[in-house]
């Protein structure tokens, strides 16, 4: 068994930042990650970091843009925390040596991004995430923080009181991918989940293969609710064949979208008469698909993004990486021809419910980054707001987990007297497909149970589960279930959603759950058994996909990235609230908590979003 004060699961931007902060706060900190840190998906982020750095800009404008972009589903205390702390955190990265793009006077450059009233996106070429990830990993190396890389976290170790707010998280069970060893990791102070997005729940995604929602699913099963899962961002510019992302920076620099008629459709058809291509992402993604649906798409699938007019110098200076991506993955030379693009699953606005300090309702369990929902992005995330979220809330979670007092949070978590129950009738009984409980439940009995005893039992359970999976020599393989699940989500829970479609998806997810009971691992080896690891991940994807579809079903309105055919209006009277789904012994329990629109100096009044 390993023991540390703070255990950070995941080593992308949020995980590294949390680990550095916990270490600086004096805690013995370790990172456990299924990838080596520099392989984390943060490295694929291209665009930049929003931070009000210049004169004429200020954090209140940033907060306002973010609230508007969120379609008034962001919680003001979280949004304002983000906007206030982003400048300091961005400057901190600069002082750690991050190679930002520069102006002639040597200051860091900033550029316009969609939905921003000021060009406040700080960037490093079109590879900002790569530099951010490496810069922070360098700081982890500098501080000598212990990293357990290629250790897959299988489950959390949590007590199992009836009320999740009485539960405590004592650590995690890890699987050393290289050797097959299963070991407990005891966390004396806290566990910070920073496991990234769940994009692999979809077939066409910009997300890495590793983005399987492991943290979401583990926290969910341990009793922390998942919040606003229906809000999935579809990025307007991903390459059609692979889902590889073409940065919003292209449009930020002046790139233009054309349909098959050569029309600049964002203006031509009135999708966004003021901002055009730089409207917020949900608006542009819908516009593109509408063009395709109305027969003005190219090959009935995509539209064109043109940056030729920017000129080679500017492209090479600010978007060089995009040229390589278009060339390598689509065979298109962006200097001489437009690039094919279509919307692709990109980001989950929702996630594990946490407060401004990164804490869930389960004591000792934290989450930060894309796997968490504070909520700063509400119904739609603005481009350039993911990276500041990682560093601002990663740092806060790390400090709080290490025992620093950050003051009482304004955002509430868990089931309390401010929540409202749901009584929607579901097409299927989702979660309850009699999964063998030993593998399904993260929690463990006994209030008085000692952490060490609990950890040992949890390790034993995972060893048994692995033995069961590997002893079977027939059944169904994870890849079959996974691709069925991904296809269903892309077919029915995509940019455009209907009640019938979402119900169909739920029925398929239920089938996946049932099939999963016969899943088996064909690879008999204990050495680097990715078959086994992916079998675990597939289980997590089923849980996460189910919450996305459930959220999409119950929210019968049109807000942010969530569009429903039968409900073409934002219903502020009814829906200025977060959807929360908690795992009630395998049965999803849906409830709601009102959104907080009162900020420090003002209340954000919902207005029509026009760009």
């Amino acid at each position: 068994m390993y023991e540390h004060d703070v255990i950070v699961v995941g080593a992308g931007g949020a995980g590294l930042r949390a680990a550095i902060a916990a270490n600086e706060a004096g805690a013995d900190t370790a990172i456990v990650s299924k990838l080596h840190p520099v392989r984390s998906h943060t490295g694929a982020a291209e665009g930049g970091i929003n931070a009000a750095l210049q004169e004429g800009d200020d954090w209140e404008l940033h907060a306002y843009d973010t609230m508007k972009g969120s379609d008034y589903l962001g919680d003001a205390p979280a949004v304002e925390t983000l906007a206030k702390n982003a400048p300091e955190e961005t400057m901190n990265l600069e002082h750690w040596g991050m190679p930002f793009s520069r102006e002639e006077d040597g200051r860091v450059s900033q550029r316009p991004f969609g939905g921003l009233s000021y060009p406040r996106t700080t960037y490093a070429g079109a590879e900002t995430g790569h530099h951010l990830l490496h810069t922070m990993y360098e700081q982890v190396v500098k501080r000598g923080i212990q990293v357990y890389d290629e250790w897959y976290v299988m489950n959390l170790v949590t007590t199992d009181e009836d009320d999740p707010t009485d539960r405590e998280c004592h650590g995690v069970v890890g699987y050393d991918v290289q050797s097959g060893t299963i070991e407990g990791f005891k966390a004396n102070n806290g566990v910070v989940l920073a496991t990234g997005g769940p994009g692999q729940a979809f077939d066409h995604t910009t997300n890495a293969v590793s983005c399987t929602g492991d943290g979401h699913a583990m926290a969910y099963r341990a009793g922390a609710p998942l919040e606003d899962m229906e809000f999935i961002q579809f990025h307007p510019t991903s390459l059609p064949s692979t889902g590889v992302l073409i940065s919003e920076g292209v449009r930020g620099e002046g790139g233009i979208l054309y349909n098959s008629e050569g029309e600049r459709f964002m203006f031509e058809y009135g999708y966004a008469n003021n901002s055009g291509e730089l409207a917020s992402r949900d608006v542009v993604a819908r516009a593109e698909l509408t063009e395709v649906d109305e027969g003005r798409g190219i090959e009935d699938e995509y539209v064109h993004l043109d940056m030729r007019h920017l000129g080679e110098d500017r492209i090479m200076d600010r978007l060089e990486n995009i040229l390589h991506l278009a060339e390598d993955f689509e065979g298109v030379d962006g200097l001489v021809e437009p690039m094919p693009v279509k919307p692709g699953q990109h980001y989950a606005m929702g996630g594990i419910e946490v407060d401004e300090n990164g804490q869930t309702c389960v004591s000792g369990l934290y989450a930060a980054g894309e796997c968490a929902c504070v909520s700063v992005h509400g119904g739609n995330r603005l481009g350039g707001n993911a990276l500041p979220e990682l560093i601002v809330f990663g740092k806060r979670a790390g400090r709080h987990a290490a025992g620093e007092d950050l003051g009482a949070p304004e955002i509430r978590t868990g089931y309390g007297d401010d929540v409202e129950d749901d009584d929607t009738e579901l097409p299927v009984q989702p979660g309850s497909a009699g999964l063998d409980t030993a593998s399904g439940v993260a929690a463990d009995g006994g209030v008085a149970a000692e952490a060490e005893g609990m950890l040992e039992r949890a390790v034993e359970r995972e060893r048994e589960r692995v033995d069961r999976l590997m002893d079977r020599d027939s059944g169904i393989q994870h890849s079959e279930i996974r691709s069925k699940l991904q296809q269903a989500m892309t077919d029915y829970v995509n940019v455009f959603r209907t009640e019938e479609g979402v119900k169909k998806a739920l029925r398929i997810i239920r089938e996946c759950r049932e099939e999963y009971q016969n899943v088996y691992v064909d690879d008999p080896s204990r050495t680097f058994n990715t078959d086994l690891q992916q079998t675990y991940e597939t289980r997590n994807l089923i849980d996460v996909a189910e919450t996305i579809a459930l959220g999409a079903l119950v929210r019968d309105e049109f807000r942010g990235a969530h569009w429903r055919k039968e409900h073409q209006e934002r219903k502020d009277d009814e829906w200025l609230k977060h959807t929360l789904i908690s795992w009630n012994e395998g049965d999803p329990d849906i409830f709601y908590r009102p959104v907080i629109l009162e900020g420090e100096n003002k209340t954000y009044e919902p207005k029509e979003r026009s760009y």
């Binding site: 080596h36 750690w96 190396v141 590793s210 994870h478």
Partner: protein, 294 residues
């Protein structure tokens, strides 16, 4: 990149494994075929799909724990071809459809996580950014040479990481700015441009694997680590004193002077980093520094 580098192309590298191209079906694939032969329903469709154009890949297999794989060998897979298919796509298809024990690292599929560097038709390449249509068939896919094979295409990266860490790869001037003073350090666009290419390294290990010197001298820092040091040493934001400290690390016995300018690292770098040039520049810097103190 430049023609000069192409002229310097290294002699063909030997595979660390048995070069014999003997193909066998993997036990899992064999089992799958038997299953398919015994069943007519949905498998018939799969085979029908596979009747179109296929790509023949030969994949290196080894697993220290599984009796049938303890002796290294190549397995053959015939994967349905699709336009735009990469080497990574092909091995993923083989894994998901034919043999789930086929093991390799991969994650981002867009040439930035650096985890899927393989030895493809005798050259270090990233699986995800290598179009299969550009390669001669059968496409031979092996683990990176000169690194210990853990299983199939997975190699032990520990030594590579150790060398990266050995150059003190972190900014060394004062840690954090005064929070009250939200000012960045100034850096000219020219200086940023100078370090730009070096900062693109994704730690894939292709360069190290291609380097004959690194293969023979385990202590040699190697092109990736030296390039990492270059990024810091050339960054004007770090002080002169720290630059000297960095050069001292680099001019040690197993540092920059080991490089014999064979350009193999530059040749294989998937991010087009001029690694050899960077190493030469550091040699010049080291000489200049020494002259100053003599």
């Amino acid at each position: 990149m430049s023609t000069q580098q192409q002229q310097q192309e290294p002699e063909s590298q030997e595979s660390p494994q048995d070069p014999e191209m003997k193909g066998t079906e993997s036990p899992q694939q064999e089992r799958l075929r038997e299953k398919q032969e015994g069943m007519v329903d949905d498998h018939a469709e799969k085979e029908a799909e596979a009747e179109g154009e296929t790509v023949h890949i030969k994949v290196f297999r080894y697993d220290p724990e599984v009796a049938a794989k303890q002796e290294p060998r190549f397995d053959d897979f015939h994967v349905p071809f699709e336009k735009g298919m990469t080497v990574l796509d092909a091995v993923m298809y083989a894994r998901d459809e034919f043999d789930s024990s086929l093991t390799f690292r991969h994650s981002c599929r867009q040439a930035v996580c650096g985890s899927d560097a393989f030895f493809v038709n005798g050259k270090q390449r990233l699986g995800c950014k290598t179009q299969i249509s550009d390669l001669e068939q059968p496409v031979r896919i092996e683990p990176l040479p000169h690194q210990e094979v853990v299983k199939d295409l997975v190699v032990d990266m520990d030594h590579f990481y150790d060398q990266m860490h050995a150059v003190e790869p972190y900014f060394q001037d004062e840690d954090t700015p005064d929070p009250a003073d939200l000012e960045e350090q100034r850096q000219s666009p020219e200086n940023r441009e100078k370090i730009k290419m070096s900062s693109r390294c994704i730690w894939c290990g292709a360069c190290m694997s291609s380097c004959n010197i690194a293969a023979g001298d385990n202590k040699y820092l190697g092109p990736a680590a030296i390039n990492k040091a270059y990024k810091f040493a050339m960054d004007d934001r770090e002080s002169e004193a720290i630059k000297e400290h960095r050069l001292r690390i680099l001019e040690q016995e197993h540092g920059v002077w080991r490089c014999q300018t064979q350009f193999s690292c530059t040749e294989v770098c998937p991010k087009d980093i001029p690694l050899t040039e960077h190493i030469q520049e550091l040699k010049r810097e080291a000489v200049k520094k020494n002259l100053k103190f003599w």
